[in-house]
């Protein structure tokens, strides 16, 4: 298979214009670490953004960073850390989960729109993504958004690109809003709660005025005592005060322990990356978004029909669920439960043959599927970008 790795955007435009003229489908790639997410794409050549590299703008006082799409995420995070700043949405690193190697790129962070625990307080990738530059399926450069935080000029194509998994265009540059790193981080740990009580505690914490930035529950079925985690970040003075208030607020859920430093950081990384369900490796993994309070009932209804283990992030609104790869990998049961509760499910990890046979992303009702097909055609009339990766025909 031909692999294109343009070093400049103009070269990417030429490759794309040529592929469009020939009708050659392209697999769009960054570092390739998330290549196993989605339906197996039907490309005849690979177009990688990895050669489009480098930070193009960083203004700490304006809370903004821009980089070419192939810039390693690690380089972005290192650069921000030097100025005590960070990406607000806590991007997950699913390499261990997926068994992939390589360097995740910032462009793929935008294209996948996968956000970590801080999603509940600081928003998703798409909320911090304030500008994109892309090459559409005609080989034209299109910019949307910009480098300023408030911008309502024209249609917001930035949002369309976030989570489009390379199906609408090749992202060549992204601009993110960033936030200061917290002076101090502390986590309250409530041990021994069952799912329903845990989610009740998390929702109470998130509905408090204390700006909880992480709310996760690891059930007892994962092999240890159940752990309910609530994270507070901010200036030290404030963190002390808020821990005290939250402890008082959550007294009815039992005594809470305070975790700080490496142990707590490792726990949140594990939650972010879905590591509690990484093993055994043959299990498939569903990522389900629903209303927080409906999380436990949703998980339970799936468990009544499937062999499953799970944990919760986003105060119950994100359910990570592992089940058997046999048959439809639980798709029918998961989809039915999600339909009942409201929300959507993505099959994040499964063997290629499963991903080819069942829908990976939540199926859409026909009017929205029609819109999806037409938006695809509006960007990529020759249907050359990652055909079939999100939905058949897209």
């Amino acid at each position: 298979m031909t692999a294109y790795r343009p070093g400049i955007e103009a070269e990417a435009c030429a490759v794309i214009a040529d592929a469009a003229a020939r009708g050659t489908p392209l697999c769009i790639a960054g570092g390739g670490t998330k290549a196993e997410i989605g339906r197996p794409a039907q490309g005849e050549a690979t177009l990688s953004a990895a050669g489009l590299d480098g930070i193009t703008l960083y203004e700490p006082a304006e809370l903004v960073i821009a980089a070419r799409a192939g810039t390693p995420l690690a380089e972005i995070e290192r650069t921000l850390a030097e100025k005590n700043q960070r990406l607000p949405f806590e991007p997950p690193d699913h390499r261990a989960l997926l068994g992939s190697a390589g360097e995740p790129t910032i462009g793929a962070v935008a294209a996948a729109n996968l956000s970590g625990p801080r999603r509940i307080q600081a928003g998703a990738v798409r909320d911090s993504l304030i500008g994109v530059r892309l090459v559409n399926g005609r080989g034209e450069v299109v910019r949307s958004g910009g480098r300023v935080m408030k911008n309502v000029t024209g249609l917001d194509l930035v949002k369309l690109m976030a989570g489009s998994w390379g199906t609408l265009g090749l992202i060549t540059e992204v601009t993110f809003k960033v936030l200061p790193e917290a002076e101090r981080v502390a986590t309250l740990l409530l041990p021994g709660l069952d799912d329903a009580r845990a989610i009740e505690a998390l929702c109470a914490a998130v509905a408090s005025p204390f700006e909880v930035t992480g709310a996760a529950h690891l059930p007892v079925a994962l092999g240890q005592e159940a752990r309910t985690l609530i994270r507070i970040e901010g200036f030290s003075f404030s963190v002390d005060y808020r821990l005290g208030e939250l402890r008082r607020l959550l007294r009815r859920f039992g005594a809470a322990e305070v975790l700080e430093g490496a142990v707590a950081d490792a726990l949140w990384c594990a939650v972010r990356d879905a590591m509690p369900l990484a093993e055994p490796r043959d299990k498939v993994l569903w990522r389900i978004s629903t209303a927080p309070k409906r999380g436990p009932a949703l998980a339970l209804s799936i468990a009544q029909r499937l062999e499953a283990r799970w944990f919760y992030d986003w105060s119950g609104g994100l359910v990570w669920l592992a089940t058997e790869p046999s048959g439809d990998a639980g798709a029918a049961v998961v989809r039915a439960a999600v339909k009942q509760a409201g929300g959507h499910a993505t099959l994040i990890r499964a063997p290629a043959e499963v991903r080819a046979a069942v829908e990976v992303f939540e199926p859409l009702p026909e009017p929205l599927m029609r819109v999806t097909r037409d938006i695809k055609a509006a960007f990529d009339p020759a249907r050359i970008f990652n055909p079939g990766r999100m939905y058949a025909g897209i």
Partner: protein, 477 residues
Amino acid sequence: MTIAFPTPDATILARREDILRGLSRLVAPEALIVSEDERRAFETDGLTAYRKLPLAVVLPSTTEEVAAVMRFCHENRVKVVPRGAGTSLAGGAIAQEDAIILCIAKMNRVLAVDFENRTARVEAGITNLAISQAVAHEGFFYAPDPSSQLACTIAGNIAMNSGGAHCLKYGVTTNNLLGVTLVMNDGTVVEIGGEHLDSPGYDLLGLICGSEGQLGVVTEAVVRILRAAEGARPALMGFETVEDAGACVAAIIGAGIIPVAIEYMDRPAINICEAFAHAGYPLDVEAMLIIEVEGSDAECEDMLRRIVEIAKPYRPKTLKVSQSEAESAAIWKGRKSAFGATGRISDYICMDGTIPTGQLPYVLKRIDEIVTAKGLRVANVFHAGDGNLHPLILFDINKPGEMEKAERAGEEILKLCVEVGGCLTGEHGVGIEKRDLMRCQFTEAELQQQMRVRAVFDPGWLLNPAKVFPLEGRVAA
């Protein structure tokens, strides 16, 4: 009068009686406004210099009625201009003789509030403030707070992706919207999003938000509600130079502090507001900041102490940290009355470009030069943390040619915003006001790409058609 309107479609005008008869079969008699007198109330919005009588006004009460009207207009090729409260400063809700106004202000109920999941489902004609009021008894609020929040509807906020004074911390509409019920051009009703986070497939919610009523009509919305902070306290600082004020903002943010609001006023704005509100603003400074922090009393105290320390090297001439509710109210009173106070002394147009905050001193100097060269005056009041400028260009509508001069100055200011790396509009929207400037910010290929996406929803250009995109060079599907 420099903004052009397309020539009304003569075949529609000729069929007016037919169209009215058709509409009358779809909604209750009191929901269809046809008389000239009553239509007059809908001839303009917040951009009052431009007025056009609509063909008719429809005031539906349900999503089904909206769908029926949309289907009828689609089949009869009648243009539809969606309208909330009509507060658009960009002319986003102004229709024309061959278009109906579909006003959803009667659909203003709260349908469900879920404090545990932190969501509220509302009909889209509800006012922005009414959402916060409906959840205030539990200490919650809806975060985006445009100045017009008493009047403006959530439907209009979604159409324009409205911001407000507190978006540095809480984001704008698109960051606080979880779902919509959308009536599409042919009357199809779709649900996008819901009570959960993030969307399956393409982010259509993000696309709808800020689409200025061109992709469909939003009849219901699910918004995120937040628990309010325990308290808030502002500090007021006056500086001798614009540069000092700008550098102070940068230093505060650089130190890792994100205040909930950083409002900026220049000398003319301070003078106007002080004369009106007697807020105790300093009259001997070039620039003034209102910086507000949130939290418990002790947290606010701690944060403001840090901020005052950071501000010292920039030699604030005035420094007032609020010590009471009454002092906080006084500090905000002048700022909140800025537009009203300006309107009392002069006609004005309010611009809305955004700039990288590092360009502040340069841009303010250039704005002054641009406006002075036209023989006019300008007052600046804006959100300094996010660079969203609101120059108020003062003019006298009774002096022939002054309004045109003000409009031209406004255009030059917006072009300047784009030149320095910003954009034409930060929160008011493009509407008709900035439509013809779109080519300053976007290339032809970029506009074509946006219009192709638009065409997915409205290939016949029937939805709010004269807005956003320059009238020449439009594409259909």
